[in-house]
Amino acid sequence: MNQFSYVRPASLKAAIDAVAKDNTARFIAGGTNLLDLMKSGVVIPEKLVDINRLPLKDIQLNGNTLHIGALALNSELAAHELVTTHHPLLSQALLAGASQQLRNMATVGGNMMQRTRCTYFYDTTMPCNKRSPNSGCGAIGGINRMHAIFGASESCIAVHPSDMCVALAALDATVLVTGPKGNRRIPFTDFHRLPGNTPQLDNNLAKGELITAVEIPANAYTKNVYYLKVRDRASYAFALVSVAAALDISNNVIRSARLAMGGVAHKPWRLYDAEKALAGKAPTEENFRHAADIALQSAKAYTHNQFKTGLSVNSIQTALLKAASV
């Protein structure tokens, strides 16, 4: 690890200035991802700007909107009554992530900003366009069992590893950002990017911009929800695929559905076509299967992740059944 300096500003402005004006500076929140990246030599900041003193921990209702501060801990958020009652899908997704110890450190902002777990990205002796643009993609011709089946490009097929973000994408959340040029609101589904030919960019946050909060609008997805995570180990493993399913069912008719997947794309992957296909239908196994098949039409698998196609169909169907049956 390089030597670096460390500051802990007390104001938002000071924190943003510290990063905006210094190319080698980085925000640090829980540090559960950044420190690993620094130890592996993937990220080499010369200054760490610790944001933990900023007043960004609040979880509260503003009218009908749930406001979640960027520094809210994953563990606190998962257990928060406002979340378990209004947005249980988010709680389930959080609890499916990492381990209790990590969730006790991990923040909402940090979780959104966590980098891919593609191992070529972490091993600095290997090619990786995301870490080192134009060095090639190690995964495309290499080991790609964990990689994307949606929205990948010829330069990168990595997936975003977060569970929390899958639920937030499904729940139409909005990201609140403050930067040198002021405040912005970004729809959650537009926050992360597809790799295209700039895989080094994970998201649309500009240099020096800080995530201050995430907001979730009121919705009817308080009961028929399910977060399914399929993984190689019962806990403490990233998703092979995951599905966030939310249904608004009334009189045995699905009024609306929200579906998003994790472990399949460079960003949390909303299944808009499948959602449409479900609207107005009965919550039956056949309809769920049909929606799942629609969702997978645009999938493209690589050497080792062929199984993700069918597994996704099965998982979408399973998550929907589970959501419908609770």
């Binding site: 180990r233 403490y236 199984f307």
Partner: protein
């Protein structure tokens, strides 16, 4: 008589130290002027080092030195070795690179962080040559090692003629031991030819011996400390190049040096369980009698050593079959040398054999348990000897009863509960019950306390605790007054902790030392204590820490003898080893594993719901630590069955999941209730305690019990470990199983 100590669930004598942080592991030691080391490892897999530029590294803060083949002091023991002898990697001898991750240089600095950083600044240029790391692509290079010749009993490949046959290929991936504690060492040259080491090892005497040979200094000049070891599973059964590199570095800078390697280096520097492909062919009569077994195995090794293990051993004697053939070959690749990993080769072989037996049972329509009993070997068919003890049939019955085997419906895919497919599986395991040679020093103090010393290791099973119990029973001294000291090369010889032999070997030596001590006390009593004057030694009885004379009421305690003679202590040293009994009997431990699994019908996820493991390991010395030992082995077995695999990108020869996040050792959530039972019947021949080993059988066979259960649940046979969800589903992942009731959710 006092309460018998062996068999009790005595708490670990060092438990408190371990849970309070009082136990000092090698890396916990601090020495004045200590330097910290970090390794620079090769990023190519075959070739030579062209150049090493250390300018930047040497300029980094706190850096003392960068040592490589270019400037390392010579290792005298390398000199005379034959360049073609496959006798291991000679670190820093020349510029040859055999495998990715091979150490190229060692960087020394005044903090660990600085050393690690400086290591990243060392610039190495290579002349790269084509490398070979993929076993399947290099099967043409397979060769036979002399230690492991082909074996035939009866007719070769007789299975082919049988009316019912199984012929299947099973593969296991490369597995890494990955104990929690990272490997490393502290090396300190006290004087130019005296060396002090704080090591992570399964045998301090083995370290001493290796260093003696390589550095050509007398044994007494080498002190090895290793009182606590944070897990080994086999990876600490030899001295590795990383340790030699540290010793060489310490020699050059004449300061103590500490190296703790990184998790990713654990994949390339300290061995692994070699990946293997096995073909298992069985022939049987229609009523289930085995008529032929052929077991062929191919496993990997390094370019510079031929590593062999007992992959095909179990097939030779496990079942009463007249015709058995085994063949075993090695494929040398550009990877480091493997080493025994818990349950060593037997665990690899048992997966194939016990899966094939299960496959045969379905083909014959005979219950897999019944099929095993039907072919039970009452005597050892390989050695043609009786077993010293074998209660395998009892173990089968006990396990079957405890898991509820009778609830199992015979047909695959016939059981469901809670929206899951349900499967029951079973298997057996076996491992040689060894007894080596060890020496124990026993010192009785005037206060009646007993101190036992031997250069043994305790990598976790609770060795000292068991030895205290054994000594307590022989001497009648209360366990609280007995101390067993290990992990020091200054103590009398004990072999490495490996091969499930510690209790047998060391326990025998403890027994003999305690008996010798009693004889010495008897001698003292006979010559000095009036009531015992002129007694014939065989008339003296030892009871509860006292001496008695047959037929007389006079008693004297051990400590009173010492006190009366004003002796501060009495010491004996006894060496113990096996005798003729090993020629007359075949000695093995046996285990039986039963599992119940749930398989999700749409995602293919396998969860083990219940485990019953039964050990036939002779007398159980400590029921509590023995249970822990079994559970630990089972957890290793869960890893082998469901999660563990080191994945390599053969284009680079580098592992791509060389960390704890991506190399999946089982976590608590993977580990269901595990019920452990012991037959707990004394083996009358093996050693004075009647105890056989248990560390290996805890794991051997377990993976087959899981894959057999997965087959029973789904009708799908997975012959390629680990059984991840994608393998349970079909290639594109679409496979789904319809449940009788509603689809599972």
């Amino acid at each position: 008589m006092k309460k018998q100590q062996t068999g009790q669930s005595m708490d670990r004598v060092d438990g408190r130290l371990k849970v309070t942080g009082g136990a000092k592991y090698f890396a916990d030691h601090q020495l004045p002027e200590l330097l910290y080391a970090a390794l620079v490892c090769s990023s190519i897999s075959n070739g030579t080092i062209k150049s090493i530029n250390t300018t930047k590294a040497l300029r980094a803060p706190g850096v003392q030195d960068v040592i490589s083949h270019l400037n390392a002091p010579p290792v005298p023991g390398y000199k005379n070795s034959d360049p073609n002898a496959k006798d291991g990697l000679k670190i820093f001898k020349d510029n040859r690179i055999y495998s990715n991750g091979q150490p190229v240089a060692i960087v020394l600095a005044n903090t660990m962080e600085r050393a690690v950083h400086a290591a990243s600044l060392v610039e190495v240029q290579y002349n790269q040559e084509t490398h070979y790391t993929d076993m399947n692509a290099n099967m043409g290079k397979a060769f036979q090692n002399n230690r492991m010749k082909d074996y035939t009993r009866g007719e070769a490949d007789a299975w082919k003629k049988a009316p019912v046959t199984i012929d299947a290929t099973y593969s296991l991936p490369l597995e890494v031991h990955n104990p929690m504690e990272l490997a490393g060492i502290i090396a300190h040259w006290d004087t130019p030819d005296t060396l002090v080491l704080y090591a992570k090892t399964q045998g301090v005497k083995n370290v001493q011996d290796t260093i003696k040979r390589l550095f050509q200094i007398p044994e007494q000049n080498i002190t090895v400390h290793s009182q606590f070891v944070g897990g080994g599973f086999g990876m600490a059964l030899r001295v590795w190049p990383l340790e030699i590199a540290t010793i060489v570095a310490a020699k050059k800078v004449r300061k103590p040096v500490k190296l703790v390697i990184t998790r990713d280096q654990m994949f390339t520097l300290v061995g692994y369980r070699p990946n293997a492909v096995q073909r298992l062919s069985l022939g049987a009569t229609a009523d289930g009698k085995l008529t032929g077994i052929t077991h062929e195995a191919v496993a990997v090794t390094s370019p510079y050593e031929d590593f062999t293990e007992g992959i095909v051993s179990m097939s030779k004697f496990m079942y009463a079959c007249p015709n058995v053939t085994t063949r075993y070959k090695l494929v040398p690749l550009n990877i480091s040398t493997p080493i025994w990993m818990r349950g060593p080769g037997e665990a690899t072989g048992a997966f194939a054999l016990e899966s094939a037996i299960d496959e045969l049972s379905y083909k014959l329509n005979i219950d897999p348990l019944e099929l095993r009993v039907l072919n039970h070997a009452d005597t050892d068919p390989e050695k043609d000897l009786p077993f010293s003890s074998k209660y395998l049939k009892e173990a089968y019955q006990l396990g079957a009863e405890k898991i509820g085997w009778s609830n199992r419906k015979a047909a695959p895919r016939s059981m469901q509960e809670d929206g899951m497919l349900v499967g029951y599986g079973m298997s057996s395991g076996t491992f040689g019950a060894f007894r080596g040679k060890a020496t124990v020093s026993a010192t009785l103090k005037a206060d009646g306390s007993l101190i036992l010393q031997s250069a043994a290791a305790d990598i976790g099973p609770g060795t000292a605790t068991a030895m205290v119990q054994i000594a307590a029973d022989v001497t009648g001294i209360a366990p609280a007054k007995i101390k067993f000291m290990l992990g020091e090369s200054a103590y009398p010889f004990a072999p490495q902790q490996g091969g499930s032999s510690t209790v047998s070997t060391l326990g025998s030596a403890v027994t003999d030392a305690c008996k010798a001590l009693q004889q010495k006390l008897a001698g003292l009593a006979i010559s000095h204590v009036p009531a015992f004057k002129n007694a014939a030694p065989e008339t003296i009885i030892f009871e509860d820490g006292q001496l008695l004379r047959a037929g007389q009421s006079e008693k004297i305690s051990y400590e009173t003898i010492l006190q009366q003679q004003q002796l501060p202590e009495v010491n004996v040293v006894a060496t113990s080893q096996s005798g003729e009994e090993r020629k007359k009997y075949s000695m093995y431990s046996f285990s039986v594993h039963f599992t119940k699994v749930h398989v999700h019908p749409a995602t293919g996820v396998v969860r083990i719901k219940h485990i019953v493991s039964v050990a036939d390991a002779g007398t159980i010395v400590n029921a509590k630590t023995a249970r822990s030992q079994m559970i630990g082995g089972v957890v290793g077995g869960i890893g082998m069955a469901l999660t563990e695999e080191a994945v390599m990108d053969h284009r680079f020869g580098r592992f791509v999941n060389n960390n704890y996040a991506d190399y999946h050792v089982p976590v608590n959530a993977d580990t269901p209730p595990t019920d452990v039972y012991f037959i707990n019947k004394k083996d009358p021949y093996i050693n004075p305690m009647g105890s056989k080993g248990m560390g290996e059988i805890a794991l051997i066979g377990f993976a087959a019990a899981v894959s057999n259960a997965v087959y029973h649940a789904t009708g799908k046979r997975v012959r390629d470990l680990p059984i991840t969800p994608d393998k349970v589903l079909d290639e594109k992942g679409y496979q789904q199983w319809k449940l009788e009731n509603k689809m599972s959710t």
